[in-house]
């Protein structure tokens, strides 16, 4: 044990995923076994940077008693801040101008002043970048990946994915039943800007007719032919699942030539940057319209979006959360800061942050899941 590390901060950066309390619980219980204190930082780093915003304080001492009584549901005791980036904090200056300030130095000083030796951050792929920068500036940090898209490349499984998948499957099955009853084709859009894991895995589990993912440009004529064939055999209904980042092979993603994108700064076209073009719903609506045109059958679009985070936490995610929490403490015990905890079955590994950033975990075109989908007769739209 490194006796220097005794007070650990823990926070959550990036969007919400269900069941975050399990990760917090894992960290607190494992730290307590070593006699360490755990201090929760509210809303990303806001609890440290803006304590004045919190009447009861921006920090929360997390004891075993407290975490054992935490909700086992989807809640998060610490709160998340999707835009936690101490390198770009928006502030109004003395001239009443809004500007972005680099408060990373102030943050590091505050961490020190609070006696926090190291920080465990539960982060999305975007927040991973921020933590990488803070680590390069000297902050001792261990990251835990979370994502409902399962897009963090260094780990097989990001925290929250399994719960989102499970809830998405439930909703797809309901949508399928409704489509069956009403004799329509339902096109359901699920999150997945760059990766189709959620779309593919939920679609095959819910026995969808087709699934369209960002990795495989689609041709709707193939999907329409399949649906038509079904209709001719007395089944004039269907379920098509589309990831929000899926693109037509005929009309590839508009790219910078699109007048919208052309007019924007590059950061605006970045899905995880400060400015975001929200494309939620676009894929479902365009696929739904085109399928209606091609099949002559009635179609409708359903956009799940953030709803996929609304379910309860699965047993797998509870295990994973506790395991990730404990592993993050172990990384600090072994004095290995600057890493992300990664689940690479059968092991939990520590991946240096520099190797974890700048990678997207995309679906292999001929991988296990695409093969299973094909075997089950689920069209991949190509």
């Amino acid at each position: 044990m490194n006796p220097a590390t005794r007070h650990i901060g823990i926070n959550i950066g990036g969007g919400y995923v269900p069941g975050l309390n399990y990760v917090v619980r894992g960290v607190v219980l494992a730290a307590s076994e070593l006699g360490w204190d755990v201090i929760g930082i509210k809303d990303g780093f806001d609890g440290l940077l803006f304590p004045e915003r919190y009447p009861s304080g921006g920090l929360l001492h997390l004891t075993n008693d407290l975490v054992e009584s935490l909700s086992s549901g989807a809640g998060a005791i610490l709160g998340t801040n999707p835009r936690t980036d101490p390198f770009r904090v928006q502030a109004v200056n003395a001239e009443n101008e809004i500007e972005e300030l680099d408060k990373s130095d102030q943050l590091l000083e505050e961490v020190k002043a609070q006696g926090i030796d190291a920080v465990i951050s539960i982060v999305s792929s975007q927040a991973l970048n921020t933590l990488f920068r803070l680590h390069r500036k000297g902050l001792k940090v261990v990251c835990i990946p979370k994502s409902v898209e399962n897009d963090v490349a260094a780990t097989q499984l990001s925290f929250g994915f399994n719960s989102a998948l499970s809830f998405t499957v439930d909703m797809l099955e309901n949508a399928r039943l409704a489509a069956h009853s009403t004799r329509k084709i339902v096109v359901v859009e699920v999150p997945g800007q760059h990766t189709g894991w959620l779309a593919l895995q939920s679609a095959m589990t819910a026995c969808a007719d087709a699934v369209l993912v960002p990795e495989i440009p689609y041709d709707l004529r193939a999907v329409a032919a399949k649906l038509k064939k079904r209709a001719e055999s007395g089944h004039p209904y269907g379920l098509v699942v589309v990831a929000e980042g899926a693109n037509s092979a005929a009309v590839p993603d508009a790219g910078p030539d699109n007048p919208l994108k052309k007019s924007l700064a590059p950061m605006a076209t970045n899905q995880q940057g400060r400015f975001i073009i929200d494309r939620t719903g676009l894929a479902a609506h365009s696929v739904s319209l085109e399928l209606q045109r091609l099949t002559g059958q009635e179609t409708y679009a359903l956009v799940l979006g953030q709803l996929v985070k609304g379910g309860s936490t699965t047993a797998l995610d509870r295990h994973l959360g506790l395991g990730y929490g404990a592993a993050a403490v172990r990384a600090l015990k072994e004095d290995r800061p600057g890493v992300m905890v990664a689940f690479q079955p059968p092991e939990t590994k520590f991946v240096p942050l520099a190797e974890a950033i700048n990678k997207v975990r995309t679906l292999p075109l001929n991988g296990l899941f695409t093969e299973i989908a094909r075997s089950l007769g689920v069209s991949l739209g190509n």
Partner: protein
């Protein structure tokens, strides 16, 4: 703000514009803005310094090139598998621009460049014939052109010497000394009343409008020979109500040199549904106002300016 009157950071120079002052005009967009309107459709104009831009379609890929990857000191450039082309990790990029000169197809380039008064005037001057014919000239826009007050003043003064009509487009959120410095060289000041209520202004734009209104009032009073045109980017749910339009009219009508109040219906780009988000899940979805609501509000303005028949 440290200012250099000789040069400024210019985002873009647009020729043959007809909506931003009299006649045919050349719009010079300066970089840097002191507001953060939630509907901003030109975020590349916000930051005061040149910023990296990237055109994925131009990238020839890591196998053929990959030169930029070696240059980036911030690990902000990487290759994505499916197409083996470079991506920019905008969270890590610090706009150091070391990658720009090594990129053969110019896929990596900069938004905004430093230009001298002479350089801008040379480009603007190409349209001189059109100004003569139409009574047009140069319009400084942004961003917020008054943030580069020394440069703006020098540029407009030089434009006046060349005989060009001058106009600026401003949101007014600058220290009065900036506005006071530039206005002597301005023929027409187009100025935004984005939202007249201070609390709503703060909600949608980021700061309240107390100083903005003070500045406008001082400008109307201290520069009686300047033509002022008030404008509102009309955004449903933000400022497209009758109460707002009447409040703006009440503010500007006592001043004879405010000659018009124009509504600029907000346009969404194409069919795309989009929102600019300060935060990921706090989505704002701004729609274009309907022609009926624009016509209704326009009629109120026409009545106030004793015009009949409206403008369209």
């Amino acid at each position: 703000m440290q200012q250099n009157p000789k040069s400024g950071i210019v985002l873009n120079i647009q020729h043959f514009c007809t909506n931003d002052g009299p006649g045919i005009r050349t719009n010079v967009f300066l970089k840097g803005c002191s507001l953060r309107c939630k509907w901003c459709s030109n975020p590349e104009s916000i930051h005061p310094k040149p910023e990296l831009a990237y055109d994925l379609n131009k990238c020839i890929g890591e196998k053929e090139c990959g030169l930029c990857l070696k240059e980036c000191p911030e690990s902000a450039l990487f290759v994505l598998e499916p197409d083996a082309k470079v991506r920019v990790n905008w969270d890590l990029c610090t706009n150091c621009a070391k990658c720009v000169p090594v990129c053969p197809p110019n896929a990596l380039y900069l938004f905004g460049k430093e230009m001298s008064v002479e350089e801008v005037l040379e480009e603007v001057g190409r349209d001189e014939t059109f100004y003569r014919e139409s009574g047009g000239g140069i319009t400084l826009s942004g961003g917020e052109c008054l943030l580069q007050a020394d440069f703006s003043a020098a540029l407009l003064e030089a434009a006046h010497i060349r005989g060009f009509n001058t106009a600026i487009e401003t949101a007014g959120n600058v220290p009065w000394r900036f506005m006071e410095k530039v206005l002597p060289h301005v023929d027409t000041m187009l100025h935004d009343h984005k939202q007249i209520d201070p609390a709503k202004h703060k909600k949608w734009v980021g700061v309240d409008n107390k100083r903005i209104l003070e500045n406008f009032k001082k400008a109307y009073e201290n520069f009686p020979n300047t033509t002022f045109i008030a404008r509102t980017p009309l955004i449903p749910g933000v400022n497209d109500d009758e109460e707002h339009v009447r409040a703006v009219l009440a503010f500007i009508r006592p001043h004879g040199n405010v000659v018009d109040y124009q509504l600029l219906p907000y346009h969404r780009f194409g069919e795309s549904k989009y929102g600019f988000l300060g935060q990921v899940y706090e989505m704002e979805d701004f729609r274009s106002p309907t022609p009926e609501s624009v016509a209704y509000l326009q009629a109120i303005i026409d009545e106030s300016f004793s015009r009949t028949g409206g403008k369209g």
